[in-house]
């Protein structure tokens, strides 16, 4: 497909000598919202870390926007348009919220950075009253929205979202859902979301891939996922899947 922004073929990775990913193949089209569903330990976060370059690929290829980025550093990947919102948010704790956003826009020129931050504040108005507060003292939900805003300030074309609902109260999860839905429409950006929250992923994703023991086992129609009774057929243990 000519409009694919990300093509992953035969991707292998792991920690030291322990392999976690055993040959992942998938693609993300431009403007597409793809979800990857799997329970703990299946390799979801490892996949995103490898795509972002924080873990080296031990095999396979990552093609982003037509270029092979498999051997690039995380910073080089980010400069090409990959955005990353990691598990646990990774907010800079001693910087205030505005400075966190500024770091997101640090590689842009002054005018573009200012515009990027203004746009993010319009899209995420919840950030406005907390701009002067240190990142480390914000609530989990505020940090998650800030992490997303910081990522958006870097003007990514593909956002890698790692379990944004983890440790977040239900009302904020609903808000996050609306925010992501609106952003993917307004910015026409591609999103790769890994989650184990069924409602969240099925409400947002155009298609859902299931990851099991380091391999993508099948593709699931989000509509099917919304019907809770068929979940057990797609996942190794439905007990491990958090249904919000």
């Amino acid at each position: 497909m000519s409009n694919e922004i990300l093509t992953v073929t035969g991707l292998r990775a792991g920690y030291d000598r322990i392999p976690i990913l055993f040959g992942i193949d998938f693609n993300v089209a431009s403007g597409e919202f793809v979800g990857i569903l799997g329970h703990n330990g299946m390799g979801k976060s490892t996949l995103l870390k490898t795509l972002m370059g924080h873990l080296p690929a031990t095999g396979g290829k990552i093609i982003f926007d037509g270029d092979d980025i498999t051997s690039l550093s995380p910073a080089q990947r980010a400069r090409r348009g990959l955005g990353y919102v990691p598990q646990g948010r990774q907010i800079f704790p001693a910087l205030n919220a505005l400075d966190n956003l500024r770091v997101g826009a640090a590689r842009l020129d002054r005018a573009s950075a200012s515009h990027a931050i203004e746009r993010v504040l319009e899209e995420l108005p919840r950030l406005k009253p907390i701009l002067t507060r240190a990142g480390g003292v914000l609530s989990g939900g505020e940090q998650q929205i800030l992490a997303l805003g910081r990522c958006l300030c870097s003007q990514p074309r593909l956002v890698l979202l790692d379990e944004p609902t983890e440790g977040i109260q239900p009302s904020i999860i609903e808000e996050m859902k609306e925010i992501l839905r609106a952003l993917s429409r307004s910015r026409r950006m591609s999103v790769l979301l890994v989650e184990q929250n069924l409602d969240f992923i099925s409400d947002l994703a155009d298609r859902v891939l299931v990851i099991q023991r380091g391999l993508l086992s099948e593709e699931v129609d989000p509509e099917v996922l919304r019907r809770g009774e068929v979940v057990a057929g797609y996942l190794p243990s439905s007990d491990d899947v958090i249904k919000s």
Binding site: H54, A75, Y84, V103, A106, R107
Partner: protein, 283 residues
């Protein structure tokens, strides 16, 4: 006159700490070669002046640039592989320290070389003080004010602070951490070199001089706490005042003891340093 002497002592202490505040305070690298970076700055200034370079140029430009270059080489060849491994960085910089002492002793011998202090002195009542010592105090103030402005208000400072807090996340936002670390280490080394260059006319230069500075500098920076600029400036002010006043009343040795004792008391009362209790969040 006593106040001028105290100001001068505070200025000297802050100057000696500046480079370490950057390398240890920001990067959490226990740089045991800090004293030798100061020594190298001293040698660079002295040798330049002996070669006919203007003394101000030698102290303010040649010394910091020379040590920045050495710092960048050390960072590229050694430190880059060891970030996040505190004990390893400590051992590595200790090795660098011994290497630099050995090299300079081989090249220049184990003897004190020096240059005359510029500007002369002036008298107040029955006492005289070198004008140059006050210039050093002013330069120290300029370094700390400049450092504060750089860290707090410039994109470079913001990127440096973010990278030191979470290098993986900074990389995910397009920042090259290895470059930020190299620049930060280079700036820290340059500040140590500047200190060595500026202090050369007052203390002379000898390959083993670093030992006299490194302990004081570490104690002052640690007492300052997490905020490297405000913390180091505040602890220099407090410890420098206590040390100088005690020296006036007794002897320089007792003055040094007073500095150590007061630092111990401060850290007992404020285990995270002065800026762990007050001025929190300042750069």
């Amino acid at each position: 006159m006593v106040l001028l002497q105290i100001a001068s002592a505070i200025g000297n202490l802050a100057l000696v700490c500046a480079g370490l505040a950057v390398i240890f305070g920001m990067m959490r690298v226990i740089n045991l070669a800090h004293g030798e970076f100061i020594m190298l700055g001293g040698f660079a200034a002295v040798l330049s002046v002996h070669a006919g370079v203007n003394i101000w140029l030698a102290m303010l430009v040649v010394a910091p640039l020379t040590v920045a270059a050495v710092g960048l080489i050390v960072e590229r060849l050694i430190m880059r592989r060891l970030y996040g491994r505190m004990v390893d960085t400590m051992l590595a910089t200790w090795g660098v320290s011994l290497l630099l002492i050995g090299l300079t002793t081989t090249l220049f011998g184990n003897r004190v070389v020096g240059i005359a202090a510029p500007l002369g002195s002036f008298r107040i009542g029955g006492y005289s003080i070198g004008a140059y010592e006050l210039v050093i105090t002013l330069i120290s103030i300029a370094i700390f004010v400049g450092g504060y402005l750089l860290l707090r208000w410039t994109p470079l400072g913001l990127v440096a602070r973010a990278t030191m807090q979470n290098r993986e996340m900074a990389a995910s936002l397009g920042i090259e951490p290895s470059r930020v670390y190299a620049v930060t280490f280079g700036i820290g080394a340059a500040l140590s070199g500047l200190a060595g260059g500026l202090l050369a006319p007052l203390s002379g230069v000898v390959p083993t001089m670093g030992v006299a500075y490194v302990a004081k500098a570490f104690i002052t920076v640690i007492t300052g706490g997490a905020s490297i600029i405000v913390g180091t400036a505040t602890s220099s002010l407090l410890l420098g005042s206590i040390s100088t006043l005690t020296t006036f009343l007794t002897t320089p040795v007792v003055g040094d003891v007073a500095l150590l004792v007061s630092a111990t008391i401060f850290l007992r009362l404020m285990p995270t340093g002065i800026t762990g209790r007050i001025f929190r969040g300042a750069p």
